[in-house]
């Protein structure tokens, strides 16, 4: 099937066009919009925390701020933007003529937008947006403790956005498995495609469980009886973290893949230890299904030994990946352009997040760090200093391909410098604050605790980050230098196309949407949530297997 849209109707094409590049770009733009919005909430929070006492917001508004900041960043920015890169680049990199199931992806984009708006509509209702943290733990999120519509709109926002991400992941997986050019064996795919494949498989397995848990939570809020049995809240935590840990890798691997591509090209070499890297991605994917309870070390009754073991085992594939990247750098002809600067900064910055991860993977140490700012610092060093540095490395690297224009080098360098300074200034003090006992998710702290200086530094750092993002936006708006098809000497197929690439021929027939059915609910027993999760999981696992087998 060829192009069905009339030319010269850009809005219509954005809304309904099935060209994978347009879907990818729009998804990325929507996600970036949510990044700016979520970032604004973060700056507000840091402003409140800059000194002891309540100056800017009320306690409940602060709760809404951190809830919506976390939810926005995770459900509406990092995950969709990770998939958006795949939507745009995967068909080009594997030599496919289009995205398999591009209508899935388009539907996913709509669902993402709808979900985001639903979630943010909470700010409009009385009492403000949802306040039950990004994880929505029961009983904090139940009808008694979180009354009002905002919590419900949060739940449905999460469901819609997650469903959209599932559809996108399905389309990318099908493309990777069924649409590769002849001769493109799986072991010849660019490492970014491997990262996307593993990411999408984890998405297909983990996200249905979140949808199941959210629907169960909503039913519990309406009629009760789902998580009310003894152990119900722990059941919710298990379901949530079964999604919540794989999603950490979903939010990380595509950017690791981007960093690897950048390091390869700007070292002028092939990837060192390509097969080792693929192997380590496989190990990560398989272990990702069995480490979730390390988020629950302090919950009574969790077999901490096993989860500490599986979590600590992750250092082996992580180390392999580092050696692979360092080995690529070694002896290369290194060009320090902006993408490479971001990639190198990623290597150093993410190391802090990774090493502090080994620390909290130990139950004894985690008991001390749990619920403190140490955890906040740790996951921001992985998600901001890891994923977002990788994201910007990818953005600077692929921007010429996406737009046909080069981003300004001088503004880019300023962006890197400000981002590195801001990130460390914001989050390094938080390790110290957590160590001294400052709890996370608090709007105020006693003046006598002596935390004022470190908090002030951290807040200044967050302004520096905001400034650096502003520099990027300016750079994107003002830079006009034409790029040509291959400004970097890239090694992968997308650089053999013009910048931006021409219209793709979408050859896929209309594809049936897969309904992720929710099993019938047995309320009043603790079997209810298990049944929901089980149903969703079995359907998802079966579908993933069948898709993969095609």
């Amino acid at each position: 099937m060829t192009k069905v849209m009339p030319r010269g109707a850009p809005l219509l094409e954005t809304l309904a066009g099935t060209d994978h590049k347009r879907i990818g770009l729009t998804t990325g733009a929507v996600a970036f919009g949510f990044f700016l919005a979520g970032g604004a909430l973060a700056v507000l929070m840091r402003t409140e925390l800059a000194q002891p006492g309540l100056q800017v917001v009320s306690l409940s508004t602060y709760n809404a701020l951190f809830t919506m900041h976390g939810s926005t960043m995770i459900y509406l920015f990092v995950t969709p933007v990770a998939l958006a890169l795949g939507l745009y680049l995967v068909p080009l990199q594997v030599g496919a003529r289009g995205l398999a199931g591009s209508r899935w992806a388009l539907g996913g984009l709509w669902l993402l937008v709808l979900g985001g708006l639903t979630m943010w509509s909470g700010f409009l209702v009385q009492g403000g947006a949802a306040q039950a943290t990004w994880s929505g733990f029961d009983p904090l999120s139940n009808a008694v403790n979180s009354p009002g519509n905002a919590m419900d709109s949060w739940i449905w926002g999460v469901v819609l956005a997650t469903l959209g991400e599932l559809l996108m992941a399905g389309a990318i997986t099908a493309t990777l498995l069924g649409r590769r050019a002849p001769g493109m064996t799986l072991l010849r795919m660019p490492i970014f495609c491997w990262a996307e494949l593993v990411t999408c498989l984890m998405t297909l397995f983990a996200f249905p469980v979140l949808i199941g848990a959210m629907v169960a939570l909503w039913i519990d809020r309406q009629w009760g009886g789902v998580f009310t049995a003894p152990g119900g809240p722990v059941t919710y935590q298990h379901l949530f973290w079964f999604y919540g840990h794989p999603v950490v890798y979903v939010m990380f691997f595509p950017f690791l893949g981007a960093v690897a591509e950048v390091i390869v090209v700007f070292s002028g070499k092939r990837l060192f230890g390509y097969r080792g890297m693929v192997l380590s991605l496989l190990v990560f994917a398989s272990l990702s299904m069995s480490v979730w309870a390390h988020h629950m070390f302090t919950v009574p009754g969790v077999t901490v030994e096993y989860f500490a073991l599986t979590s600590t085992l992750l250092v082996i594939p992580a180390g392999t990946e580092y050696f692979s990247l360092l080995g690529t750098l070694h002896g290369g002809r290194i060009r320090l352009s902006v993408p490479m600067l971001f990639a190198l900064a990623f290597l150093v910055q993410f190391l802090v997040g990774g090493l502090s991860g080994i620390w909290v993977a130990s139950p004894a140490l985690d008991n001390h760090a749990n619920n403190s700012y140490v955890v906040v610092a740790h996951f921001h060093y992985t998600l901001l200093a890891g994923s977002i540095f990788g994201f910007f490395a990818g953005v600077y690297y692929w921007w010429p391909k996406l737009t046909g224009r080069l981003l300004g080098e001088r503004l880019g360098r300023l962006h890197v410098a400000l981002f590195v300074v801001g990130t460390n200034l914001t989050f390094a003090p938080q390790f110290a604050l957590g160590e001294e006992g400052m709890a996370r998710r608090i709007a105020d702290y006693p003046a006598g605790a002596g935390w004022g200086t470190l908090n002030l530094l951290s807040s200044i750092g967050s302004y520096v980050i905001a400034l650096s993002v502003l520099v990027f936006v300016v750079n994107a708006l003002v830079s006009r230098a034409p790029a040509g098809p291959d400004p970097w000497g890239g090694q992968t197929l997308e650089w053999a196309t013009p910048s931006p690439p021409g219209e793709a021929q979408d050859l896929s027939p209309a594809t049936v949407l897969t309904a992720f059915g929710v099993a019938a609910l047995l309320s009043g027993t603790e079997l209810g949530p298990w049944c929901i999760a089980l149903g969703a999981l079995l359907v998802a696992a079966g579908v993933a297997g069948l898709v993969a087998e095609r």
């Binding site: 496989l282 398989s286 299904m289 030994e305 073991l309 079995l538 297997g545 069948l546 993969a548």
Partner: protein, 240 residues
């Protein structure tokens, strides 16, 4: 025990007749049979009467570890190599008739895992030795159905590709995780095993050890399949 000895003798006879049969395959098959023997006829079986954790270890051996090694021993390939033309035709017909696809194997494995652990079947089996024996047989058969298409040592009419193997192996982790999570979070699951502490250990075994075993198998099987695919493509290109 007799069955284990019988299959062992049969395999040995086959390996003698088929020239140049790889030792690694024989070793894998012997290892699989040894694990079966350990599960059914060692002190573990006696312990399993009293301790849920020992019982779970037994189930993991029967349903996961032993069938994996047996499948890696490529018994069907050996039968094809060792038998005469009539026997071969018979084996080939059986291969086409049997549902040796990952979807069937995964469904069987999931059904047996969840069906025996999350329902009343577990208690029933403890009371009736016949049902217990049937349960153990179901583990071994489901394990074989699951592993044979995924290991890929035996020649099959419809072998799955590397990515399909990856997906099916990942799909096998959630069922075991769910059994583990149920045993971890709920109260006493089986009246015959009242100790909650031991139930937690059993859950950890099911979850941790089971997942680790699957993870190791995943890396080995998928990577071997990837390399094989790449080698095939290189041969194809060299022939051009």
């Amino acid at each position: 025990m007799i069955a284990v000895a019988f299959w062992g003798a049969l395999y040995l006879a086959g390996a003698r007749r088929a020239r140049g049969w790889p030792r690694a395959r024989s070793a894998a098959f012997a290892g699989g049979l040894a694990l079966l023997a350990v599960a059914l006829a060692s002190p573990l079986d006696a312990r399993a009467e009293r301790l849920l954790s020992a019982h779970m270890a037994q189930h993991l051996l029967l349903g996961l570890a032993a069938p994996l090694l047996v499948a890696a021993g490529a018994p069907v390939r050996l039968a094809l190599a060792a038998l005469g033309p009539r026997g071969r035709r018979w084996v080939a017909r059986a291969l086409h008739a049997l549902p040796l696809r990952p979807a069937t194997g995964w469904a069987a494995f999931t059904a047996v895992m969840l069906g025996t652990h999350l329902t009343g079947v577990y208690e029933l089996a403890l009371r009736d030795p016949l049902i217990h024996a049937a349960e153990h047989l179901a583990y071994v058969l489901a394990g074989l159905l699951f592993w044979v298409p995924l290991v890929g040592a035996d020649p099959l009419p419809h072998p799955p590709g590397p990515a399909a193997k990856l997906a099916w192996l990942m799909a096998a982790m959630p069922p075991m995780g769910l059994v583990g999570a149920r045993l971890l979070t709920g109260g006493v699951a089986y009246p015959s095993y009242p100790s909650l502490a031991d139930q937690r250990t059993a859950a950890g075994l099911m979850w941790g050890a089971g997942s680790l075993l699957l993870a190791a198998a995943l890396v080995w099987i998928v990577f071997a399949a990837l390399v094989r695919e790449e080698q095939r493509q290189r041969r194809r290109e060299a022939a051009r």
